[in-house]
């Protein structure tokens, strides 16, 4: 996450960076299966393993966008399969609200996506990553919330209001 995206003019061969939070018990194992089964999926995804999708604080997702991720994927166990029984149910409520809220504030639909991938669904994982990467590619580089893409604000005038 310390990598910085280039800001002003994007080169022709721009490739999106997608950050994926995968739960240890299902989606991470699903990604592993996709790898060991030699399935092809776009290399744009950077994976962070978390104990459970319920561990993913919404601030992680927003911070990823701030630090220059072009897209964020959060993936956990299917409902009913959570290793901790209910972590993904709680996560689902938070994410449903977060996704709508980000859209409301103008973050493009498709930047932040959620999926359920089980440990046996290597092919499904490849499919999800392919879709997320192609969605993000279509949207172009992320500029909203991205601290490296924002213009420096105008100097404030004396009464404290922005000029």
């Amino acid at each position: 996450m310390s990598e910085r995206t280039t800001t002003s003019s994007e080169p022709q061969d721009w490739e999106p960076k997608v950050l994926a939070f995968l739960c240890n018990w299902c989606s991470y194992a699903g990604a592993d299966l996709a790898g060991t089964s030699r399935m092809q999926y776009p290399p744009n995804v950077r994976i962070i393993r978390v104990p459970c999708s319920g561990r993913v604080n919404p601030i992680f997702i927003v911070e990823a966008l701030r630090q220059g991720a072009d897209g964020v994927l959060v993936s956990g166990c299917h409902p009913g399969d959570c290793h901790y029984l209910s972590g993904n149910y709680y996560a689902r409520r938070r994410f449903a609200l977060l996704q709508r809220y980000l859209e409301y504030l103008g973050v493009e639909k498709g930047r932040v996506q959620f999926s359920w991938v089980s440990a046996s669904e290597g092919a499904r994982f490849a499919e999800v990553v392919t879709k997320v990467v192609s969605d993000v590619k279509a949207l172009g580089p992320s500029r909203r919330l991205n601290i490296n893409a924002m213009p420096v604000p105008a100097v404030e005038v004396a009464d404290g209001r922005p000029a």
């Binding site: 409520r93 449903a96 609200l97 859209e103 103008g106 639909k109 959620f114 999926s115 991205n146 604000p153």
Partner: protein, 314 residues
């Protein structure tokens, strides 16, 4: 104006028999048209308490600091919902609380009054509220025309939890549609939404008055004050302000009772309710939950249903 004698006697009785150690109310303050919070600990001080439409502060914001104490408090309709919010989150035991409720026609915004009279807000002297009029010198402004904008969309004039009711109930319909601004913003395109968000938040100067005024912002360490990890840098950059407003409002998802204390406290006039109302509308739509109504209901993000909305999952 001072409280009705029956209410004063009740508060004195509570203080005398030890049911409460402190009573939090409002008293006339040094700034015109703005009452100031007062903490009454002895029966002699009870006469300082007032109620009129200049009592803007949501006193429930003080409650989390009085955990373990017995507290009496005065609440308007909107404030009473914040008490229910705290009860629902088990932040304060009901048996340690004595509540005096007042029905509120809407509280006075000195900036609006000054605008109506065409003078700087600092020049409002000898201002008072009487008989539905805000009087400044020899000029008067009707109370309805001098309220905060969000009070015009108020559908919660009457307290929904109180031990004593201090005045008559008010039954008036909201003048403005409470969800009007949210529906307007929802209809915008991504680019327009983003511009609207940036425009609103560009006025924010990160004073954290909204957080300090919020009765539900009781985290011991707020994420903006955290240093391990440090999420937030207090700079003048727009994206830091956006980050603060986004994360603070989202932390109130399913918890915001819509009292409007943040929006009234904002010295820069940022319409924070524009964002919080969206979250409240979504919580209502997705989880059929309204914060600040039922102290027994489980807050929506602390529970789940197996058949919750799953349509957004890939």
């Amino acid at each position: 104006m001072t409280l009705p004698s029956a209410v004063r006697e009740q508060i004195i009785e509570w203080l005398k028999n030890g049911e409460i150690e402190v009573f939090i109310g409002w008293e006339a303050g040094p700034v015109p048209l703005q009452a100031t919070p007062v903490f009454v600990r002895t029966p002699e001080e009870v006469d300082r308490l007032i109620w009129d439409p200049t009592c803007e502060n949501n006193l429930v914001a003080f409650l989390p600091r009085y955990r373990g104490k017995k507290v009496g408090i005065m609440v308007k309709g909107c404030d009473s919902r914040a008490i229910i919010g705290l009860l629902a989150e088990a932040q304060f035991p009901r048996e340690n609380l004595r509540i005096v409720g007042v029905s509120c026609p809407g509280v006075v915004d000195p900036k609006v009054v000054a605008e109506q009279l065409g003078v700087p807000v600092e020049d409002l002297e000898d201002a008072s509220v009487r008989d539905g009029q805000v009087l400044v010198g020899d000029q008067g402004v009707p109370l309805e025309a001098s309220c905060y904008a969000l009070c015009r969309a108020c559908d919660r004039h009457n307290p929904i939890i109180a031990d004593v009711q201090a005045n008559e109930e008010i039954n008036s319909e909201p003048v403005d549609d409470p969800l009007g601004p949210v529906r307007e913003m929802e209809a915008l395109s991504d680019d327009e939404c983003w511009a609207r968000f940036a425009e609103e938040v560009s006025r924010c100067n990160l004073c954290f008055a909204c957080r300090n005024a919020c009765p539900l912002c009781y985290c011991n360490v707020c994420f903006v004050d955290r240093t391990q990890p440090r999420w937030f840098n207090q700079t003048t950059r727009l994206e830091d302000r956006q980050f603060y407003q986004l994360m603070r409002t989202f932390h109130l998802a399913g918890r915001c009772v819509g009292c409007g204390a943040c929006t009234r406290a904002c010295p820069q006039g940022v319409n924070i309710r524009l964002f919080l109302d969206k979250l409240r509308a979504d919580v209502q739509e997705l989880f059929a939950y309204e914060a600040g109504v039922d102290p027994e209901a489980k807050p929506p993000l602390r529970t789940y249903r197996q058949d919750d909305y799953n349509g957004f999952i890939l």
